[in-house]
Amino acid sequence: MGTATRAGIQAPRTGGASASAQSDARGGWRRRRHALAPYWFLLPYFLVFAVFWCWPIIDSALLSLQNTRVNPWAWNLGINWRRLWVDRAFHAALGNTLIIMAIQVPVMLTLATALAVALNSPLLKLRPIYRFAFFAPVVVSDAAYSVVFRVLFNGQFGAVNHAFTALGLPTIDWLQDPNAMLSTVMVAMTWRWTGYNAIILLAGLQSIPRDLYEAAAIDGATPADRFFRITLPLLKPILVFCLVLSVIGTTQLFTEPWLITDRGGPGGGAETLGTYLYKQGFVSMNFGYAAAIAYTIAGMAAVLAALNLMLTRGKQA
């Protein structure tokens, strides 16, 4: 924790009896000024934080308990929460989000781990080129890469279907077929976020002491042994961090389905909790229902994050 400063360091520079009373008074003032200083430093951030974080959290709960489809808004404790229970479109969006989470996150993290190990290998040549290829997507805006993937996955003349034809595979209507739509979104997300996770995992790998591997090599451990007995266990806390981050990110996925598959796709095939929240809140302007969806997302993220932490901690014991 922080090295706490001794409160109020008095430094009277003037000596003599006549000055001592004055310096005492000044010392007292200075002590108070110093005691107040941290609050002044905190004030600007916490003002913004209170207005745009704390208040919205409360207001979101209040909104979810109001009927916002009448003017003026009226208290109706159950209207939005009951609707969540019976709303088929919401259930579909929830299902799609969970499918993406269950498939895309593990695939991406496996790929990111493999990538980090490869990039960390002393045997690799041309490392800067590989780092650029995999890390560059980290800086690309969601909106930009989403429209690019929309072109690449075009059902007729997209680059992906060109490649499929060249390989003798049947072409797929990537942006129309419900299952294909979800795959398109997942491929795009994997392109964008694998390098991001690999950067974090690579930093983790570099913090593992080299002599562990040297000792294992002397004991005759194979590369597979070294990976599963040394690398993976020591990397686990960071993998869990990436997992929790990815899961929280996926619960509120919005831009990719919105822009790649045209607002969640025909028939809502790529509707996610994020796009559904947007439609309810900012297309239908039903803020109360959108707030209930938002709290569901938060609750889900909290449960999943806790579950991840519990499961991974359980394994270690």
């Binding site: 922080g2 951030y45 075009n154 490649a163």
Partner: protein
Amino acid sequence: MLRTIESRRRWGTWALTGGLAPLALLWLAPLYLMAVFATLPDYAIFSPDLPLTPGGNLLENWTFLDDTANFGRAMLNSIGIAAVSTVLSLLLTSMAGYAFARFAFVGKQAAFSLLVASLTVPYAVLIVPQYVLVARDLDLSSTWIAVIVPPLCYSIGVLFMRQTFLSLPQELLDAARIDGAREGRIFFSIALPLVRPSLAALAIILFLASWNNYLWPLLVATQPGARTAPVALGSLIGLNVVPWGALMVGATLLTLPMIVVFIFLQRYFVAGITAGAVK
């Protein structure tokens, strides 16, 4: 013996290259095709053979983009908004981080716990009430205040700066205090200059986040003249006939500057991204 180790090494290099090189090409393909498509007329982008080389339609595509989506103006908005956001956010987060790292005060533990807890709450929970507050109650739609201020809540930045300020030697600050310097002066003229590399890493992450932000500006920067570049780009997707070449010019303009910055300042990006994970 030596020879087998040597050949095993070479084999390892080849295996790594064989696995990684095709994957790297696949990863670079979207960016390459984006740049190529930006120079082609729409009919050429969707032709029976995948076009792999640039054409001569870049200027026409740009003109269409600027005429239809007012993209030049949107880029200027984005640059201005990202610059102001970055400076303000650096100031706010470093001041708060400094308070947490360098002072003992009543309520410190509670305030700090609140910030850490806020990290686990998805942004989705904030967006509806933030919109109601900013666009409805305060009627600030399409102003820079609306676009810039709410995203200044960036608790990771505070934690990052706290971590940074914890590493400063206390004697330095005490010496200034004994000399009678005010706390504000100590912060601005001694503490801040000492943590310049961390500020640079944070600045890059903040600028990138603001430059790339899509959802919040989409909600509050609704007037065509107030749009940011990602919002202007997304608006073209809604047209009846989507202008693909123009879209790719816009995507390239959004991406290219950041890629150039990334090439030269890679270690700052990496420092910013790994800040929360590895301690």
